[in-house]
C-alpha cells in the first residue's frame, strides 16, 4: 500500500493503484489517477464514474454488461472511453476496488 498526495489531499492506494477508501475520492483525484494511465477525463467519463460509484455504494457487483445496460453508455462506447480496460480503468478512476467479476 502506498500513500500519495493529490490536490492537497492524502490518498491511500493499493499496489495496483486502486483507492483503498472510496470516501477519499473526489474529481481532482480521478483526474490525477487518470493522468497516470494516460487518460484525459471528460464529462462522459465522469458519468460512468458516477454510475460505478453509486452501484458500488449499493454493494452491487459490477460488470461491463451492467454499465452497458445503464443507459449512460453502451459497451462499445465504454471501450471507447476506457480503451484497454473498460471496467479496470473506470473502477480505478472512480476510486472503487479492482473489479472481481469475470464478465
Amino acid at each position: 500500500m502506498t500513500q500519495i498526495t493529490i490536490a492537497g489531499q492524502s490518498v491511500d492506494l493499493t499496489d495496483e493503484g486502486y483507492l483503498t477508501d472510496a470516501s477519499q475520492w473526489n474529481k481532482e483525484v480521478a483526474v490525477e489517477l487518470a493522468k497516470t494511465e494516460g487518460f484525459e477525463l471528460g464529462d462522459d467519463h465522469f458519468k460512468v464514474l458516477d454510475f460505478l460509484r453509486d452501484a458500488h455504494a449499493k454493494g452491487e457487483t459490477l460488470t461491463i454488461r451492467k454499465v452497458g445496460k445503464s443507459g449512460i453508455v453502451d459497451i462499445k462506447g465504454l471501450y471507447k472511453l476506457f480503451p484497454g480496460g473498460p471496467l479496470k480503468f473506470s473502477s480505478k478512476f472512480a476510486g472503487i476496488p479492482k473489479p472481481t467479476s469475470c464478465v
Binding site: I64, R65, G68, I75, K76, Y79, G85, V103
Partner: protein
C-alpha cells in the same frame, strides 16, 4: 539483463470445437475476459462449436446429462446417467444452467458475441466444418467476421506474446 521482466499477453486465439453450453461459455468468457483486459482476441468456431454462432442453434445450446461424472442433482447427490437419458431431462437441466447464468449476469450467447466484438474481438468460423455441415455465411450470426481455413487462422496468431487456446 533483468530476466524477470513481466511480458503480459498481447493476443489470444481461442478455438471452440464443442457445442455444449459449458464448452461454448468457457470460450466466450475467456474471449470477453481477454478484450476486457486489453488483450487482442480472435475466436475460431469449428465442428460442433459452430452451433454457438449459427443463428438457428445458438439460443438452444444444451449441457450433456449423459456420461458426465461431475453432473450432480441440486443439493449435491450424484446424477445417474440413466436419468439423464430420459427425454426432456437434458433440456430441463440446460434451462436450469441458463437461468443460473442469467442470475450471475452472464449474457446469452448472441449478446456475449456482441460484447466481444464491441471490445474489438473478432469472431471467425471454420471453412472445413462449414462445408461438412452444409452451412453458409448467411446461416451465421452477424457478429461473425469471416469464414477462414485453419491456415488463415494461424496467420492471425502471429506475434511472440500470442497464445492459442483450444477448448
Amino acid at each position: 539483463m533483468d530476466t524477470n521482466e513481466k511480458k503480459p499477453l498481447q493476443k489470444v486465439c481461442i478455438i471452440c470445437a464443442k457445442g455444449s453450453l459449458e464448452d461454448v461459455y468457457a470460450s466466450l468468457v475467456m474471449a470477453n475476459g481477454a478484450v476486457m483486459e486489453g488483450i487482442e482476441c480472435k475466436v475460431f468456431f469449428t465442428f460442433f462449436g459452430l452451433d454457438a454462432i449459427t443463428k438457428k442453434q445458438m439460443k438452444k445450446l444444451h449441457t450433456g446429462t449423459v456420461g458426465n461424472p461431475a453432473m450432480r442433482m441440486p443439493g449435491g447427490l450424484p446424477f445417474p446417467t440413466l436419468l439423464g437419458a430420459i427425454p426432456g431431462v437434458e433440456a430441463g437441466v440446460s434451462a436450469m444452467m441458463r437461468s443460473q447464468m442469467e442470475a450471475l449476469d452472464i449474457p446469452k450467447v448472441d449478446e456475449f458475441l456482441e460484447m466481444i466484438t464491441a471490445g474489438g474481438g473478432e469472431i471467425y468460423a471454420c471453412k472445413l466444418a462449414m462445408d461438412m455441415f452444409k452451412l453458409t455465411k448467411a446461416d451465421l450470426h452477424e457478429e461473425v467476421l469471416d469464414v477462414l481455413t485453419i491456415g488463415q487462422f494461424y496467420e492471425l496468431a502471429d506475434g511472440d506474446r500470442t497464445q492459442i487456446i483450444f477448448t
